[in-house]
């Protein structure tokens, strides 16, 4: 079965640079979620989209923005990167927002030097 695709899988950036992470949800899933997992921590919700509209927002820095496109893929844009942004970034998708099972992608490991 098709899974959530994330690219790139690994990314190394320097401080103050920008990064764009991409997420392709499971076919026919219309809801996308982004999570950030720091070293030794549990994943923390950043933002979600349902039918291309932002549906919920967590502790996402103002330096980060995201959107969902007409083909339902999503991009997370991160600017003015800081050392503390180094983390594993997961995208998840589900069919409909709310109490539906979320399926996670393999993650993008971002390292900021």
């Amino acid at each position: 079965a098709a899974g959530v695709i994330q690219s790139p899988r690994h990314l190394i950036k320097e401080k103050r640079e920008t990064a764009t992470l991409k997420c392709y949800p499971i076919p026919r899933h219309d809801t996308v979620y982004w999570y950030q997992q720091g070293p030794g921590q549990d994943p923390q919700f950043l933002i979600s989209f349902y039918e291309k509209m932002q549906s919920d927002k967590g502790s996402i820095p103002d330096r980060f923005s995201a959107q969902q496109f007409s083909d339902y893929h999503s991009e997370l844009n991160m600017s003015s990167l800081e050392l503390g942004d180094s983390a594993l970034y997961f995208c998840a998708s589900s069919h409909r927002a709310g109490a539906y099972e979320q399926y996670f992608g393999p993650g993008t490991r971002l390292t900021v030097t």
């Binding site: 809801t31 979620y33 999570y35 549990d42 994943p43 923390q44 919700f45 979600s48 349902y50 549906s55 919920d56 967590g58 594993l88 997961f90 998840a92 589900s94 927002a97 709310g98 109490a99 539906y100 099972e101 979320q102 399926y103 996670f104 393999p106 993650g107 490991r109």
Partner: protein, 109 residues
């Protein structure tokens, strides 16, 4: 917001042993999922279990929503079961998952 607590935080087992992981949550939830994060960082869906009991091979899970807890059972553990097990819940604040701190399991040969 909802608080999710997992216990124990760490667990070391000999291969072949059984174990029970617990997840307590502080408020009513619309859903609950169990995940296994392997050493490569991938989050693998184990169970989607708002209530009741489910089984998948050597793993099973039970959620008692009225008492606000869920249990994950691992039987005849194998070294490939090592990793971190997360419980995550949906509250009433939209579809975001709120994760517990995880249980780090190490299975020794």
């Amino acid at each position: 917001g909802i608080q999710v607590e997992q216990s124990p935080p760490d667990l070391i087992l000999q291969e072949g042993a059984n174990s029970t992981l617990r997840c307590n949550f502080s408020d009513s939830v619309n859903n609950l999922q169990w995940f296994h994060q392997n050493p490569w960082g991938q989050l693998i869906n184990l169970f989607y279990i708002p209530s009741g009991t489910k089984q998948n091979g050597r793993l099973s899970a039970t959620t008692v929503a009225t008492e606000r807890y869920s249990l994950l059972y691992i039987s005849s553990s194998q070294t490939t079961d090592s990793g971190v097990y997360f419980c995550a819940v949906y509250g009433n604040q939209g579809g975001k998952l709120i994760f517990g701190q995880g249980t780090e399991l190490s299975v020794k040969p």
